[in-house]
Structures are given as C-alpha cells and as structure tokens.
Amino acid sequence: MEKVISLIKYFSQTSEFEKILHPYILKLYRVAYRLCGSASDAEDLVQDVLVKVYPKRQTLFRLENPGPWLVKVLYRTFIDHRRRMARSPLHLLQNNNDEENNSVVESIPTENSGPEEISENNQVRERLMRAINSLNLDQRHLCILHDVEGYTLNELEEILNTPIGTLKSRLHRARASLRKLLKHETF
C-alpha cells in the first residue's frame, strides 16, 4: 500500500514540476539566446536543461528561489556543449557560408528556412552585440549575466563557480573594453 501511495505521489510530482518551472522557461530561453546567439540553439539548450533537471526535481522543490540554480545548470550545459564540439577528433564545423559550389550530402531531408530579416532599426543593436562579442568569453558571459540579465555577483559566484573578487575585476575590465569600443556610439 505504501508503494502504491508512493507511485501516486511520484506521478503528481510531474505537475508540480511544470508549475514550478513554467515561470522560468522564458527567462532561461533569454539567457540561452544571449549565450548561443541563435533562437534554435537557445531552444535546444533550454530543452537539454529541462531534461537534466527533471530527475533532480526534488532539489528543485526544496529551493526558495530556483532561478539562479537553473541558470547555473544552463550555463554548465552550455559550456559542456562547447567543449564537446571542440573535442571532436575531426574538424566538424557549422558552415553556413556560401557553399553553392560545394557538394552537399543530404543525410536527412532538409527544411527550407528563409533568411533572417535585419531591420535597419537594429543597427545600434548590431553594434552593441558586436562590442559584447568582441570581449573574451569569460568577460562576455559575465557581462551578459550581470549587466544584461541582472544577476548579482553573489549569485554569479555560485553560477560561474568563481570568487566574487575575480568576478568584480573581470567585470570592470569588460566594461572598460566596452567603453572603448562604443566611445563613438550615441545611445
């Protein structure tokens, strides 16, 4: 009887999981987008994170504020993906350049997606993104998570597993670089 009750409880936890996670999905997606730079990569990253988090939902249920913990899992998953891609023994690249003359092996039937429209109004946005992207990886991620997404240094100490002092000097150097890069920009 005890085990049957446990079974019922197990299945009711899945709706608890949805209830708790749902408010964080778009925030996670936003952070993922800023890290990955592409909407489909961001969606895939968030999905991977949710798959990872589901078996650990007991931990999730115990947290008062699951936000930073979720971002920590997201950030670690993002870094793991990057390392795995870099470790491929053969040089497997994402190659979306003009390859009209290259032969294409259709491993799986392709979908046709139209080109992304870049609005003229996004010029400032483009320059801002270029400036952020020219920072080194550590500075860029810190800038995104702190200055753009608003996580405190205390939260980031946990998320990035880096002491606050280090984060602070890294942040200040990142901002100094951005000031130089954007000195002619009008906001």
Binding site: Y10, F17, E43, V51, L92, Q94, I108, M129, H172
Partner: protein, 224 residues
C-alpha cells in the same frame, strides 16, 4: 574628490558597492564636474542600451513543448524503490504481448545515398569534405568512418574505423576528412551517421591510381 578618484569609483558606483560616505563624495563631485557627470551618464546609457537589446521570441508553444519533452524523456526513470512495482505491471503487459503477437519493430534500417566518386593518386594527401545538412540540431549523433585497407586517415595510422559522438547543428555541418592513399585500387570509404533510431550511410567511391603525387594537401569535394 578629484576626477581620477571619481572615475576609479565609477563601476562600484554603478553596482551600488560604495559606502554611504563614498557615494556622497562621488555625487558631490559629479554635481561640480560636467566631464565626469557626462562620463557617468554615458555609462548609465550604455548599460540601459545593452539591457534593451531584445531577444527574438521562441517558437510558438515552446514552453509547453519543452516541459512535456523533459517529462517524457524522464518518464521511465523511476525511483529504484518503485521499480519492482512497475516491473511487475510491465511484465504482465509483456506476457500479453507475447500471447497476442509481437509489435512491429521501430528500428529503421540505414538509408543509403547514391555513391559519390573521387580520383586520388597513391601517396597523395587529400581532404575530403563532407557537408551534412541537418534540418534541426541532432545532439549526440554517432559518426563512424570506415576506411578501406588502401586508405589511411591522417593522424590515425593503422586504423580502419574511426568513430566518435558529436552534436550536429541545424544547417550545414562540414566534416573534413584528411586522407592519404597507400595503395592502388577501386575502393569505398563509408561514413555512417546514427542518431536515435535513424541511420544514414554515405559511400564515397575512390579510384586510387599509380601516378606519383607532389604530396600537397588539397581539398576535394564530392557530389552525391
């Protein structure tokens, strides 16, 4: 407070990390120094502009889909203590299956594409570029390269099969295979890509002939 000191404090000022005394001193300086006032204002504007950079919306239904996917992926990862209870139920279903007939296998045999061809000289190093076009991200794809005896992959001496797992991204993925032909013949290099229960075989026919090569490494593309 002078300008140098005020500017040293600018990042801590933005982050609210100054003591009350320091904050007051900075504000008094900004009230009297237009240059520093403008610099601080610019910092504020820059950060606001960064925060205002919009992110495109995810695809419709993304949140619901992701949650459902997470739950269906973890559905059979039941706690160990509950496993026997569910196993018994599953065993009963399995018995029923056997009695009424086996379900259709869901495994899909490998789909093969028409063979491409390349001509290569003995001892010639060549880079064969395979462009794999994926309609969506394929995480954890398993790639296997089967080499004929006459061909070696540069950096993998003596190996006839090389395999690894990687993520294929939506769009074109370039797989560069540096090879060198060791002896003549009409041979085949096979690339197999496995993902979940799908498999694709890509065959490259290679004609290796005897003319001496310069040994230059150059690219070759092949058409399937």
């Amino acid at each position: 407070m002078n300008c140098t000191k005020a500017l040293e404090y600018r990042d801590d000022y933005i982050d609210g990390d100054l003591s009350q005394e320091e904050k007051v001193a900075v504000r008094e300086h900004l009230d009297s120094c237009q240059q520093c006032h403008d610099a601080f204002k610019r910092d504020e504007d820059m950060l606001q502009a960064l925060r205002a950079v919009t992110v495109p919306a995810p695809s419709p239904g993304f949140a619901r889909r992701s949650l459902q996917h997470a739950q269906s992926a973890g559905r059979w990862q039941i706690p160990k203590s509950l496993a026997p209870l569910l196993s018994a139920a599953m065993a009963a279903c399995l018995v029923l299956w056997l009695v009424t007939g086996l379900p259709r296998m869901s495994y899909q045999p490998a789909q093969e594409l028409p063979t491409a061809q390349v001509i290569i000289k003995i001892n010639e190093q060549k880079i064969i570029n395979v462009v794999v076009n994926a309609p969506r991200d394929l995480l954890d794809a398993h790639i296997t390269i089967q080499l004929p005896a006459q061909v070696e992959m540069v950096g993998f001496p003596g190996k006839s099969e090389i395999e690894w797992k990687t993520d294929l991204r939506k769009g074109k993925n370039l797989l560069s295979l540096p090879i060198i032909a060791k002896s003549t013949g009409n041979v085949e290099l096979v690339t197999r890509i496995n993902h979940e229960n799908k498999s694709k075989l890509l065959k490259l026919a290679m004609k290796i002939h005897n003319s001496h090569a310069t040994g230059d490494l150059h690219d070759s593309k092949y058409l399937v």
